[in-house]
C-alpha cells in the first residue's frame, strides 16, 4: 500500500524533475557531434592551421561554448566563421549538399561573398569540404576558405 503511494508521488516528482534537464539560457549546445574529436578549438587550431589563418593571436579560451562570456560572437572574420561552423556544422553540411539554405546565406554574410558563390562551391566541392564523416570543423573552414580563394583575418 505504501509503495503504491510512493509510486504515485514519485511519478509527479519525476515529471517535475525533468525540468532540470534543460537550461535554455546561456550559450553552447551539447548536441554538436561534428564539433571535432578533441573538442577544444585552440588545440585544433594549433594542429591544423599551418599558418593559413595567419596570426595565431586569437586564443579562444571559452572552449566549446561557441561564444564569448558575454554571449556575443566576437573577433575577426575567421573567428566568426569558425564559431558559426562549430555551432551549425550539421545544418551547414545539409545545406551544402543541397546547395540552398539559411546557413549558406549566413556564411556568405560572414565572409562577404555572394550567396550564389558559396552555394555553388559548397555543393560542387562537397566531397572535398567534408572529406570524411569524422571531419573536424577547422578542416571544413579551411577548405571552404581555400575554395573561395579567401584570406581572412
Amino acid at each position: 500500500m505504501k509503495k503504491l503511494m510512493l509510486a504515485s508521488v514519485g511519478f509527479v516528482l519525476l515529471a517535475s524533475g525533468s525540468a532540470l534537464a534543460h537550461d535554455s539560457t546561456g550559450c553552447g549546445l551539447g548536441s554538436m557531434a561534428w564539433r571535432g574529436q578533441s573538442g577544444m578549438l585552440p588545440q585544433l587550431l594549433a594542429v591544423t592551421t599551418n599558418g593559413l589563418f595567419g596570426s595565431q593571436t586569437f586564443g579562444i579560451s571559452t572552449g566549446t561554448s561557441g561564444c564569448d562570456p558575454n554571449g556575443r560572437i566576437t573577433g575577426g572574420t575567421q573567428k566568426m566563421f569558425l564559431t558559426f561552423l562549430e555551432n551549425n556544422m550539421e545544418q551547414f553540411a545539409f545545406d551544402a549538399s543541397r546547395g540552398e539554405g539559411e546557413t549558406l546565406v549566413a556564411v556568405a554574410g560572414i565572409l562577404n561573398v555572394p550567396v550564389e558563390k558559396v552555394a555553388t562551391v559548397s555543393k560542387e566541392h562537397f566531397n572535398e569540404i567534408f572529406s570524411s564523416q569524422n571531419v573536424e570543423v577547422v578542416a571544413v573552414a579551411e577548405e571552404v576558405l581555400t575554395l573561395l580563394n579567401l584570406q581572412v583575418a
Binding site: 503504491l4 503511494m5 509510486a7 504515485s8 508521488v9 511519478f11 509527479v12 516528482l13 519525476l14 515529471a15 517535475s16 524533475g17 525533468s18 525540468a19 532540470l20 534537464a21 534543460h22 537550461d23 535554455s24 539560457t25 546561456g26 550559450c27 553552447g28 549546445l29 548536441s31 557531434a33 561534428w34 561557441g66 561564444c67 558575454n70 554571449g71 556575443r72 560572437i73 566576437t74 558559426f84 555551432n87 551549425n88 550539421e90 553540411a93 545539409f94 551544402a96 549538399s97 543541397r98 546547395g99 540552398e100 539554405g101 539559411e102 546557413t103 546565406v105 549566413a106 554574410g109 560572414i110 552555394a119 555543393k123 562537397f126 566531397n127 567534408f130 570524411s132 564523416q133 569524422n134
Partner: protein, 615 residues
C-alpha cells in the same frame, strides 16, 4: 546720475538673484514633474503599489543610484542627474539609457562618455529591427509548459538572422537542485532571473532542433531611435538581477517592462498584475496599435519531418523506412528526382532527431548522415524548401476562462460557475494551440443547488496536465496525465459529501485513428485523502483509463472511461465521462458534458450544459 546707476545696478543684481532663484525653482519643479512621468517610471521599472507609491521590479542594488532609489522615483532621478554632472565615468557607462533620457529631457547637454565595453556591445548588436519571439509549449519540461518568449535584435542584412542576437530573460537555475525544490524555488522567488544574450542560431538550435518547439517571430515597428534606446536599456538591465517567480515575474513579464521602457505609451506591464502567460504577452504586443509589423513561422524539426512525411506517397514512405531502419538506399533510386530529394532530406533531419534523442550511437549517426548527404549532393540543385504554414497562436483562445453551467446531479438541478486562470483544456478550441495537450491551473468550481438553495465549493483543480501525442513510426512519445486537487465526493454508506484531496498520474500511449481523431490508453495510480468521510481516512489505487479525442474545425470532443482498483471503496470505481464543445468565436464556446460513476453502494450521474467565455 550716480544714484540712477546705483539703482539700475541694484535692479540688475536683484534680477540676477531672482533669475537664479527661479532657475533653481524651475529645476526642482521639472524634476518633480519628470520623476513621475511615464517615461522615467518605465525606465527604472517602477510599478505602482497598492498604497499609492512606487516600487521598482529590479532587485539589484547596483541598478539604483539613490539609497532609496528602489521606491523613490524622484530621489533616483536627482541622483541620476548628479551622476551625469559628476566625473564618475565608470558608473556613467552603466546607464546609457538614462543618459539618453536626461538628454532628451534637456537636463544635460554633454556627450556620452567613452565606454569601450558598452560600445562593443552596441556594435555587436547593431539592430536593424527588434523582433519579439514566441516558442510554443515543450511538454517534456514542466517549466516550459506555457511556452516561452524572448527578443531578437535583428541582423543588419536581409535573411541572415542566424547571426542576429537573441535576448533571453530567465532564472539562474542551480543544476544540482532536485525536482520538487526546483519547482518550489521557481514558484516562490527562490531563484534570481537575469538577462542573457546569445546568437540567434543558438536559439534556433535549442528550441527548433533540440526541444522540437515551433518558433514564431513577431517583428516590431520600432524607430531607429527606439531600437538604439532598447540596446542602451538592455545594457542597463543586463547587469541586474531580479527575483524570478514562475507565474508572475517570469521570462515574459520582464520583457513587457523592457518594451515599456522603450516606448512608455505601450503600458504593457500593467496588463499582467497577477499572472503572465507567455502567449498572453504575445497577444498583448500584437494588440498594441502600430507595434506589430509582421509574423514569421519557423516550424520545429519534428513538425518539418511530420509535414514532409505526410506529403509522401506510399512508395516514398517505403523508401524512407528502408533507408532509416535497414540502411538500404535501393528504393530511393526508383523514385523521381524531387521524390528522392524529399526522402533524403527527411531522412537526414530524422537521423539528427535520433541523435539528439540519443536513440543512435555517435558513429552510426555520423556514418548514416554522411551517407545521406553524399547521395544528396549528387543530385542537381533542387529546392525542397517549401513553406510550412502554421496556425498563428494569435488566433488561439485567451488563457483565462469562465464557464457558466446548468446541470443535474442525481436529478437535482444546479447552476455552476467555473473559473480557470490558465491555460488550455483538451475540449477548448485547438486553433493556434496543440490539440494533443492540456494544462489546467487552479480551476475553481462553485455549485449552487437550486432546490436546497445552497452554495458549495465543488472542486479546485490545482493542476492538471495531459499530453496525448500520437505514437507513430517516426515519433514514439509517451502519453501522460497528472492531476491534483480537491473535489466533493459522496460516501454512499454514510451518505455524507465532503471535499477530498487526490493526486493521480499515469502514462501510456496515444494512436491517431484519422487526422482528426486519436485514441489513448493509460495505466494510472492515485492517492486520495478524505478524512473522516473516507474509510481509513485515505487510500491508494491503481487503474487504467482509455479515451477518444476528436478535433475538427470548431468541434472538440473527449470521451474517457476509467477503472480503479483499490481496497478502499471510495477509490474502487468505474467511471465514464464525455464532453463536446463548439467554438462560436475565438473567445466563446458552448458545450455539454456527462459524467457517470459507479462505486460500492451506489452510482452518480451528472449532466451539464455550459457556456465558456475566455479573456
Amino acid at each position: 546720475m550716480i544714484l540712477l546707476i546705483r539703482k539700475l545696478l541694484c535692479l540688475f543684481f536683484c534680477l540676477i538673484l531672482v533669475s537664479f532663484q527661479t532657475k533653481a525653482d524651475s529645476l526642482s519643479e521639472k524634476i518633480q514633474q519628470t520623476a513621475f512621468s511615464q517615461e522615467w517610471l518605465a525606465l527604472v521599472h517602477y510599478q505602482p503599489t497598492w498604497y499609492q507609491t512606487y516600487k521598482s521590479s529590479i532587485d539589484s542594488d547596483n541598478f539604483f543610484l539613490a539609497p532609496d532609489g528602489k521606491t523613490n522615483p524622484k530621489h533616483e532621478l536627482e541622483a541620476t542627474l548628479r551622476l551625469f554632472q559628476s566625473n564618475d565615468t565608470t558608473k556613467q557607462c552603466l546607464f546609457p539609457a538614462r543618459y539618453l533620457f536626461l538628454k532628451q529631457h534637456n537636463f544635460i547637454q554633454n556627450n556620452f562618455v567613452n565606454c569601450p565595453d558598452y560600445q562593443s556591445f552596441q556594435k555587436d548588436l547593431n539592430p536593424n529591427g527588434i523582433t519579439f519571439i514566441f516558442t510554443d509549449a515543450y511538454m517534456n519540461n514542466p517549466a516550459s509548459l506555457f511556452g516561452h518568449t524572448l527578443m531578437r535584435t535583428d541582423a543588419p542584412k536581409e535573411k541572415t538572422q542566424l547571426m542576429a542576437y537573441g535576448m533571453n530573460y530567465g532564472a539562474w537555475v542551480d543544476e544540482k537542485t532536485a525536482g520538487a525544490l526546483y519547482a518550489l524555488y521557481g514558484l516562490t522567488g527562490g531563484y534570481y532571473g537575469g538577462f542573457t544574450v546569445k546568437p540567434y542560431y543558438s536559439v534556433i538550435n535549442m528550441y527548433n532542433n533540440i526541444e522540437n518547439r515551433d518558433i514564431w517571430e513577431y517583428q516590431l515597428q520600432l524607430t531607429p531611435d527606439e531600437q538604439a534606446f532598447y540596446v542602451a536599456h538592455l545594457w542597463e538591465v543586463g547587469q541586474t538581477q531580479t527575483r524570478y517567480y514562475f507565474f508572475t515575474k517570469n521570462c515574459s513579464y520582464l520583457l513587457m517592462e523592457v518594451l515599456d521602457a522603450v516606448r512608455p505609451s505601450l503600458k504593457l506591464a500593467q496588463s499582467f498584475p497577477l499572472q503572465t502567460v507567455p502567449l498572453d504577452t504575445v497577444k498583448a504586443v500584437a494588440g498594441k496599435e502600430g507595434l506589430l509589423q509582421s509574423e514569421n513561422y519557423r516550424p520545429s524539426r519534428q513538425r518539418r519531418i511530420t509535414y514532409r512525411y505526410e506529403q509522401m506517397s506510399p512508395t516514398e514512405k517505403e523508401a524512407l523506412k528502408d533507408l532509416l531502419f535497414h540502411d538500404d538506399f535501393s528504393k530511393t533510386n526508383a523514385l523521381s528526382a524531387p521524390q528522392k530529394a524529399a526522402v533524403l532530406d527527411t531522412a537526414y533531419e530524422y537521423v539528427q532527431y535520433q541523435w539528439i534523442k540519443q536513440d543512435i550511437l555517435l558513429d552510426d549517426y555520423r556514418a548514416k548522415s554522411f551517407q545521406i548527404l553524399k547521395e544528396r549532393r549528387k543530385m542537381t540543385l533542387l529546392s525542397t524548401e517549401e513553406e510550412i504554414k502554421g496556425v498563428s497562436p494569435l488566433l488561439s483562445h485567451d488563457s483565462m476562462r469562465i464557464q457558466g453551467a446548468f446541470g443535474t446531479h442525481q436529478g437535482k438541478t444546479y447552476a455552476e460557475v467555473k473559473w480557470r486562470p490558465a491555460y488550455h483544456a483538451l475540449t477548448d478550441s485547438a486553433i493556434g494551440l496543440s490539440p494533443e495537450s492540456e494544462i489546467q491551473f487552479l480551476e475553481t468550481v462553485f455549485r449552487y443547488y437550486t432546490q436546497k438553495k445552497r452554495l458549495y465549493l465543488q472542486e479546485i483543480t490545482l493542476l492538471k496536465i495531459s499530453s496525448f501525442s500520437p505514437y507513430s513510426l517516426l515519433f514514439k512519445p509517451l502519453s501522460y496525465q497528472i492531476e491534483t486537487g480537491i473535489k466533493r465526493e459522496k460516501n454512499f454508506k454514510t451518505k455524507t459529501e465532503k471535499l477530498m484531496y487526490s493526486l493521480s498520474g499515469g502514462s501510456g500511449l496515444t494512436f491517431s485513428l484519422t487526422s482528426h481523431m486519436s485514441i489513448y490508453g493509460l495505466v494510472n495510480s492515485v492517492f486520495q485523502y478524505g478524512g473522516k468521510a473516507m474509510p481509513h481516512h485515505f487510500g491508494v489505487g491503481i487503474g487504467v483509463s482509455s479515451g477518444i479525442l476528436y478535433h475538427r474545425q470548431n468541434w472538440q470532443t473527449q470521451i474517457e472511461g476509467k477503472y480503479w482498483l483499490s481496497d478502499n471503496e471510495m477509490i474502487r470505481k468505474t467511471s465514464i465521462k464525455g464532453e463536446i464543445s463548439y467554438h462560436l468565436a475565438r473567445n466563446w464556446a458552448i458545450g455539454t458534458s456527462y459524467e457517470g460513476q459507479k462505486r460500492v453502494g451506489g452510482y452518480e450521474n451528472d449532466f451539464r450544459i455550459f457556456l465558456n467565455r475566455y479573456f
